[in-house]
Symmetry: C2
């Protein structure tokens, strides 16, 4: 199997997630996949890192039922209007028709907020910040793709409640910051943070914000979104608190959805190469694999004995290490196998290493090799892990920057999109009055207006015109295709 990420990303992606045993899409229900051990270990690590970050920022873990009664969904009008086209319904228990049908949660606002009306009573209960890690279910009619679009997919959802609108907006910024700490800071994935156009917001929200990274085929991948809900759900679910001034008030809410599946899709796609996955050190299930290189001048037992010394040394330093000592597999086959799975460092141990009490380390990202004395091994691993991280991240950043082009006419948009680029352009408005212009771009090029960046400040020059309608441009927006 010859991989070619650049010229056929889709085939590359499908091959890698199958062969690296990330997910298996042969389960016999459309859009539902099985997470295999290697993928599951990475997912669990991403979950752990994200949960730790959420908890450091004051969120508590909770877990709500998988089912939501229809009456809850109906409480917020826009919300049910949108999601009812995507809901799986449970109608029977054994042979009995249930008294009322239950939705498999497509998202859990209407489960959480039903309980928040019990839990939140006083300004002393606020801010209230809780999250759950779970899967959600959507009856997708579009084509499904593992880790990008499924009928069951994995995410985290955080649901926060504040006494003031300012606090809620501050949370939106904090959500962006948490995404940066985790996705950029630990997974080496650069992203842009947008305020989405009003016509593309989460149904039930007042404003939607989202992190988009860029996949190798030039399409946006939304890896997290956060929504300013204002008081809409509070009013729908009668969540009220007694404020310091003695008055009962509706609180302000936000909800935040890091897409753990989509983050994994980005991790695989952005860092991988034609040899398979490349995993940053922090999320690699195995960080260093030790491969013994047998030769005539040393016994296999002696070699393995020394390999175990190396293994112990690494493990004692907190490194997730694996000694691949199977004598029936060639070193070459082992190299191929672990490279494909993205193990960031390989430690080769042959007769030379044994004689000199050293280890040859090979970087998965550059294939650079360096021989290190055993005594300096832990330091070298730490140093190389940082270099790999920096290299992956700066490569990804260069790639992202090189894909952004500015356009000053709608024709230029089309041209750039067809080349797999994303377009920055002056645009009339991301409020509802800009929707017709957004629709035109979608019809002409299947491209979406992803919104205004709130992670950088940028304004179109005075007198700039919307590239679609020619009215004065209020903002720069970013336009491209998406997953």
């Amino acid at each position: 199997m010859k991989l070619d990420k650049k010229s056929n990303f889709s085939e590359w992606y499908n091959t890698v997630i199958r062969e690296a045993e990330i997910v298996d899409d042969r389960y016999n229900v459309k859009g539902f996949v099985v997470h295999r051990p290697w993928g599951m270990r990475i997912l669990k690590t991403i979950y752990r890192i994200y949960e730790e970050a959420l908890e450091e920022h004051g969120h508590e873990p909770v877990l709500f039922p998988t089912v939501i009664p229809e009456e809850n969904l109906r409480r917020e009008e826009e919300h049910v209007e949108y999601f009812k086209a995507e809901v799986f319904w449970i109608t029977h228990g054994a042979d009995r028709l249930l008294p009322r049908r239950l939705a498999l949660r497509p998202t859990s606002e209407t489960a959480f907020y039903y309980m928040y009306s019990y839990w939140i009573r006083s300004y002393r209960d606020l801010p209230f910040k809780a999250y759950q890690s779970c899967s959600v279910f959507r009856y997708e009619t579009k084509a499904t793709k593992p880790l990008l679009r499924g009928r069951e997919f994995l995410w985290i959802e955080a649901h926060d409640v504040f006494s003031t609108s300012e606090d809620a907006y501050r949370q939106v910024r904090e959500d962006m910051e948490i995404a940066r700490e985790v996705i950029y800071g630990k997974l080496a994935i650069p992203f842009m943070f947008f305020q989405r156009p009003q016509w593309d917001k989460f149904r039930g929200a007042e404003y939607t914000f989202a992190a988009d990274c860029l996949m190798p085929d030039g399409r946006f991948n939304q890896i997290a979104s956060t929504h300013y809900l204002g008081q809409r759900f509070a009013k729908a679910f009668e969540i009220k608190f007694l404020d310091r001034d003695g008055a009962w008030k509706y609180p302000y809410q936000t909800c935040y959805g890091p897409g753990i599946w989509r983050i994994l899709a980005a991790l695989i796609s952005i860092h991988g190469d034609d040899h398979g996955l490349i995993l940053p050190f922090d999320v690699a299930p195995i960080q260093v694999v030790i491969v013994p290189i047998p030769s005539k001048d040393v016994s296999y037992d002696e070699l393995i004995k020394y390999c175990k010394v190396v293994e112990d040394r690494l493990r004692s330093g907190g490194v997730r290490v694996r000694l691949d000592s199977d004598p029936d597999v060639t070193p070459g086959a082992k190299f191929y196998f672990w490279e494909f799975r993205g193990v960031p460092l390989r430690a080769e141990v042959g007769s030379m290493e044994l004689k000199t009490r050293s280890v040859t380390l090979c970087r998965r990202d550059t294939f650079e090799r360096v021989r290190i004395e055993l005594e300096l091994l832990l330091d070298a691993v730490e140093d190389l892990s940082r270099r790999i991280f920096d290299n992956l991240r700066s490569k990804a950043e260069r790639e992202l920057e090189s894909r952004i082009v500015e356009a000053l006419s709608i024709e230029e948009v089309g041209e750039s999109i067809s080349k797999g680029l994303i377009v920055k352009a002056p645009f009339c408005s991301v409020d509802y009055d800009g929707e017709p212009c957004g629709e035109k771009l979608k019809e002409a090029y299947s491209a979406e207006v992803r919104g205004i960046r709130i992670d950088v400040e940028e304004e179109p020059p005075d007198g700039a015109k919307c590239i679609v309608c020619g009215r004065p441009a209020k903002h720069y927006v970013y336009i491209g295709r998406s997953y």
Copy 2:
């Protein structure tokens, strides 16, 4: 609210899980509960400890879909016969009838083994050991009770495949060992390990084994079960492997279900007292709570400053610590609050402690207090955490032992059961020919034959007779009521 665990366990239990914010049963779907932060933190820790133990014993993490198509369930006859009376069915996506209905997993044999037929091909793939942490769904018609019987509940399921029957039976023993390491070794919960009577086995298994602990009302609580499946599912799902001898063979399987919910129920019920929860150190979300004791001869700021020194010291030693510095709440109210939540150690810091650079530690289990110099604090905490653990466990063991009585007639069984005891008695057979005797006990006393112990060796004396039918007794069995 006055708690009395001894005289009214059921009320004690309901009050404790509600007031300690373990779960909330006010969600508006019967049998589905919400896990609140304090309970969720404990659950997550139990999950982590159990997952680590499973992984140390060679299991890999996976995650399967929440839904199972009906055709999979139908593959194994006994299995579907039993579970079809307990399955929730998904019939619609949006307004559309699905081409075939989907079950919410009641257990995942028929999902796992469908994929195992793809994954397992050669003796080199064996043993294959995988687990998932998830919730499962059963349309219970009996009364539900949080953490003990629910329509959605949390567990782990491990599904293992071996080339020989011996290997599979060895796994049953290992499953018992893992339960011992975690449940007895980390959570201080003693249990008995049974081979269940054939009429009470998991449907689809050849033999069922299970860990039962004893709740304070004298009822058994099954906290884990493991099943020897033989080749039944392998044949139903066409799982075959090419053995060393070149022949295609059906492998032997086991499945193992630690009931994380029920383990939490046991943890709460067995260790708790009339002041609330008592948590062993390893699973306590907060292991030490620091409570400042204000007084006239010291400023609050100074006190808090020293409390922070204590906090840092504990944190640097890896202790999960919380400083409860709220000046608007009295120390007494703080004591009550954290005692109720089961925090194993309280560090009291007043003017005396400040002056002498010391801390007064109070044990949650005995309320014993001891003043310790700051320099010795970490050692003292470690020592006390072990003493608390030992005390909880030996108390629980004494309690369990004191509840077991031997009976030599069916009347004695009835008497003992009604007193909340469990009965050890000679019994004819746990094979199908003993079922009528088991039925009689159930009808007469609502008591179940829980099976033969395999964790201890015990045989009835020569000539012993079954207490029900008077035939020669093959075994000692244990009889009691259960959750």
